[in-house]
């Protein structure tokens, strides 16, 4: 009996590994494609020449200098950032859904995004603040929002999971109304459109310095979640059972919330709000490989990176003007979500 059970398990494992390899290959292919297309298209051979001259630091073909500039200064950082943010947002979503034992939770639930947006709006209104200043303010306020939610929950100190959700709601509404207030107070011809565009979210602002801050923070966060992903299985049983099988839920919950919030705050402070990625991608991963976080977390990261890269490529190539990325993610994410609700109707949790 246990023999057949083992082969079944190893079969599902092999299938999951195969899926991961397919996703990784797709991600690489999509990355190359995305580097090539856009307002300036770069052919495969041109791409090869640019990359080789870049790697061996040879002088480039004078005909290619324009394309090389596009490649190194615009497209490469943009594609890298899209993949990183996609991974960060979707893995944060998976972490939050596990911690709150609810598949309908997104990483915004503790108010990170609202806080960061408020910080950015504040930065846009403050006289003489630079773009870097706006990002720092967004990051700081994003984390402040989460700390407020955690503090409220700590003071209340009963039924921690439920209270955290309610505390998040309180923080969320405070920051959302503050954003409205800032919009109301802003100059309707310059500042208000700036705030509105900022909130729409776009990866078009990507620069190398964003990569330098995003890489350590997001990669560090992803590594942390990857290493501790089994603990999410245990935490998703709820506090009582987590404690009785030998894990301290409050410590691990605090660690996971902190790490995920940093990833989301980095994302919102560099690119504004990007909807649906944190909610839908973990769902897709769960339908493909099941709820066990050991396999589901890496699959979530791969699909998240792929999805946001695809969405960003569509956002900048579909029309002459650049579409806000949230429009693309929501237009594609919402139907996928509806489909998954339909497909999972018998599995007992949707």
């Amino acid at each position: 009996m246990s023999g057949t059970a083992f082969s079944y398990r190893s079969l599902t494992k092999t299938r999951s590994y195969r899926l991961m390899i397919i996703l990784a290959v797709l991600l690489v292919l999509m990355f190359i494609l995305s580097l090539r297309i856009g307002r300036v298209s770069i052919s495969m051979s041109e791409l090869g020449r640019i990359v080789s001259s870049w790697v061996f630091s040879n002088p480039t073909d004078p005909q290619l200098t324009g394309k090389e500039m596009v490649f190194t200064l615009v497209r490469l950082p943009r594609c890298l950032l899209a993949v990183l943010l996609g991974m960060g947002l979707s893995v944060s979503g998976a972490v939050y859904q596990g911690l709150f034992r609810n598949p309908l939770v997104s990483p915004d639930i503790l108010g990170v995004s609202a806080g960061a947006t408020f910080g950015a709006a504040l930065g846009l209104l403050l006289p003489g603040s630079s773009f870097a200043m706006i990002q720092v303010l967004a990051f700081v306020f994003g984390l402040t929002a989460v700390c407020m939610a955690l503090a409220i929950a700590r003071v209340v100190a009963v039924r921690p999971v439920l209270v955290l959700v309610l505390a998040g709601l309180v923080v969320l509404s405070i920051f959302n109304s503050s954003i409205t207030l800032l919009k109301y107070l802003s100059d309707p011809y310059n500042e208000l459109p700036a705030i509105v565009f900022w909130i729409m979210g776009s990866i078009s602002r990507a620069e190398w310095k964003d990569i330098y801050t995003a890489v350590p923070l997001i990669c560090g966060g992803l590594l942390f979640v990857f290493l501790l992903r089994y603990k999410l299985n245990v935490l998703s049983l709820g506090d009582l059972q987590t404690k009785s099988i030998g894990l301290n839920p409050s410590i691990y919950r605090f660690l996971f919330i902190s790490v995920s919030s940093v990833m989301v705050a980095v994302s919102v402070s560099t690119c504004g709000q990007i909807c649906w990625v944190g909610l839908v991608i973990p769902h897709i991963a769960r339908t493909l490989v099941g709820p066990n976080h050991e396999i589901m977390i890496p699959v979530t990261a791969l699909i998240g990176g792929l999805f946001l890269l695809l969405a960003d490529t569509v956002a900048r190539t579909l029309t002459m003007a650049e579409l806000p990325i949230s429009v693309v993610t929501a237009f594609s994410g919402a139907p996928i979500f509806a489909y998954l609700l339909y497909r999972n109707r018998g599995s007992g949790w949707t």
Binding site: M1, S2, A5, F6, Y8, R9, G98, R101, P103, L227, L228, R229, Y230, N233, V234, S236, L237, G238, L240, Q241, K243, S244, I245, G246, L247, N248, R286, G290, P291, N292, E294, S347, G348, W349
Partner: protein
């Protein structure tokens, strides 16, 4: 080697739920906690494995002070089969069972082949290996109880706490489940402490009985000594009659139904 509960008191705020509870359970014995709704049985169970901290008194399991030790150390000694079922992600039963190894894993460690082997072995011993790959959310209440039992047995071989284990089980499964636990734990030397509602089930399966009334121990001791007509009547605050079965066992029924029986079910 024994579990000692010494003068344990517990209160939620000003309301005292448990007061000076003292009893002792030796290795390999089945101890039933009996009491009415709200008498403090579940609270006592939660105190025993440190989910709640007693306001006074101390609990020692084989030398380990439960109130001072960390979660991992307590979990290796004491496991719990909780009463309520919480809807979770649709993990396979094997994934649920293997979580019983959590207390033995390091900070970033995941269960390995040895842990899965152990989980399979426990499921085999409980004659439930066909459950391994089914979704925990799609099996019956009785099967869930078996899966949670397997997880608890994998977690600790010293002490097993059961919170109203037969609550969601049908007539047959109540007996089958308790029989399996009793059989398995006696052989392995695991001590079982179960909060139970049915005095007759306790009479059949328990070696020791602790009767709790209003947060205090009413009677405690070997089953045959404690389970008397007078004690059961006092515990449940209702006149109870004892009937002897031919097997040297007794069954308790409230006077209420006994007197109706004499009228052959005819309304007076």
């Amino acid at each position: 080697m024994s579990l000692k509960c010494l003068d344990v008191s517990f209160s939620y705020g000003v309301r005292e739920v448990l007061s000076e509870i003292t009893f002792e359970v030796d290795q390999g014995l089945f101890c039933a906690l009996l009491g009415r709704n709200g008498s403090g049985k579940t609270t006592l169970l939660y105190c025993l494995n440190g989910l709640l901290k007693p306001t006074d008194g101390c609990i020692k399991v084989e030398g380990l002070d439960v109130c001072r030790a960390n979660r991992k150390a307590v979990a290796r000694k004491i496991s719990l089969v909780p009463q309520e079922h919480i809807e979770i992600f649709p993990f396979s039963v094997l994934d649920v069972v293997v979580m019983g190894r959590t207390a033995y894993l390091g900070f970033a460690q995941r269960p390995g082949k040895a842990d899965y082997d152990a989980a399979h072995e426990i499921l085999d011993l409980l004659k439930a290996s066909d459950l391994a790959n089914r979704s925990f959310n799609q099996i019956s209440g009785g099967e869930r109880q078996i899966a949670l039992l397997a997880r608890a047995l994998l977690q600790s071989s010293s002490t097993l706490l059961l919170d109203e284990p037969t609550n969601h089980l049908d007539f047959k499964n109540q007996y089958v489940f308790l029989h399996r636990i009793k059989d398995f734990c006696t052989k392995r030397g695991t001590r079982v402490i179960a909060a139970m509602h049915d005095p007759n089930l306790a009479r059949f399966f328990a070696d020791r009985i602790v009767m709790i009334k209003d947060g205090r121990v009413l009677n405690a001791g070997p089953t045959s000594e404690v389970m008397t007509e007078a004690n059961v009547s006092r515990l449940y605050e209702t006149e109870t009659r004892q009937f002897d079965l031919s097997l040297g066992k007794q069954i308790f029924l409230p006077e209420l139904v006994c007197s109706e029986e004499e009228t052959n079910g005819q309304p007076k």
